[in-house]
Amino acid sequence: MSILSDMKQRKTGQAGMRTINTLYFYLTEGCNLACRHCWMGPRFDATGNHYPTLPVELFETAIREAKPLGLSGVKLTGGEPLLHPHFTRLLEIVRREELKLTIETNGLLCTPEIAAEIAKSPNRFVSVSIDGTDAATHEWVRGVPGAFEAARQAVRSLVAAGTRPQIIFTVMRSNAGQVDAMVRMAEEQGAASLKFNVVQPTARGEKLHENQETLNIGDLIELGRHVEQELAPKTKLKIFFHYPHAFRALHRIASGDGCSACGIFGILGVIASGHYALCGIGEQVPDLIFGAVGKARLEEVWRENAILKALREGLPERLEGVCGRCLMKGRCLGACIAQNYYSKGSLWAPYWFCEQAEEAGLFPTSRLGTRPTQSPLITIGNAASE
């Protein structure tokens, strides 16, 4: 019987040196889909031959330098990671180094043979993006005919090889009516979990927001509650709605559902150009690139980079706006620092979702609270005589 869910869990001790838990490898600058909501905005590349991919040597170098700093896992993402010309070689390296493997894929290239290679990693997690329960809906989002059946086949291949993936569904105006049906489809497909993502207003996602093809803040909050309170109890699937901690039911947080926290203290990105970056945002925001793999020493980047140091020293206390007043800030850490920086040019800017919710009067008041301002000392004396 868990009684307490401590909201200030990460409040102290953050200025100290952290370990790199996970390197996020954004392996390709191109992608074989053209998704309307993509926060990375890679260029279309059906075969993976046209745009840079991360050289295998740099992949190995980053891992070699990160292991003494505590590295325990890697995430392979893109662009589209399976477009990488030496993808199976990368899998071998991950196995050799005994690292936890996470892959985010659109599934197009996930053949039974690739699924079998992935399954050789004992500690693995794979997510496949599917944004609709029918081809027309999914492919309107993804921009390429045949993408729907390919993604479903990828899930089947992964399951057959012994990896039950997570399906990721990004909600927008065109597919919000399929949320309930998506739970059934994920169950039928044999997925282990289903995550509903919100479109981030970065890169192409920003255009989608501007064109009002995303849900408004009230609809998003309502949908999140529907997923957490009505759909989740009725299915054996683990299902998540990826919105900030302030909107999540306490019992969901206490049960260990760690969605919606920025992993900023334990992750570092490596982008396809061969540079360290805060995360994939480095593809969009050059300020958040921290040095070239193989030229800059990773230990030095991790310990000395001014932005990383500022984040360790400043989070969560320096968060501004509604995030600064939120009781969940010690867990949530501003939800997504990269997104906040992209939107406002400040590491401490509030998260757009929470800001919009507050403006609409929809931010949960039970999750807000600030320390009262101390009264200044009263000066005693006759100022006029001085």
Binding site: M1, S2, I3, L4, D6, A249, L250, S366, G369, R371
Partner: protein, 95 residues
Amino acid sequence: MNQTDRPIANPIVVLREEFDDWAVLFNPDTAEAVGTNPVGVAVWKRMDGKRSIEDIAAEIKNSFEDAPDAAFKEIAAFVNRLAENGFVGLELESK
């Protein structure tokens, strides 16, 4: 004066009950907060300086069908954690 074993909720702490019967305990003096489940809420409401932890645990066991045998131990730990954070005190003995 000596302390009793009767916990008393810090009167400045605000109990904010949420839609799922869980709640946030918020201390406006320190801006610290803890989340608590429905059992914790029931315990909080009984910390009036008159009931002992044992009394509270007995009432909780009668009120919740699925209260485990270890309820007293868990409630005592809960009260202790709140006390460490200044959310709860122990009533003083009256003369």
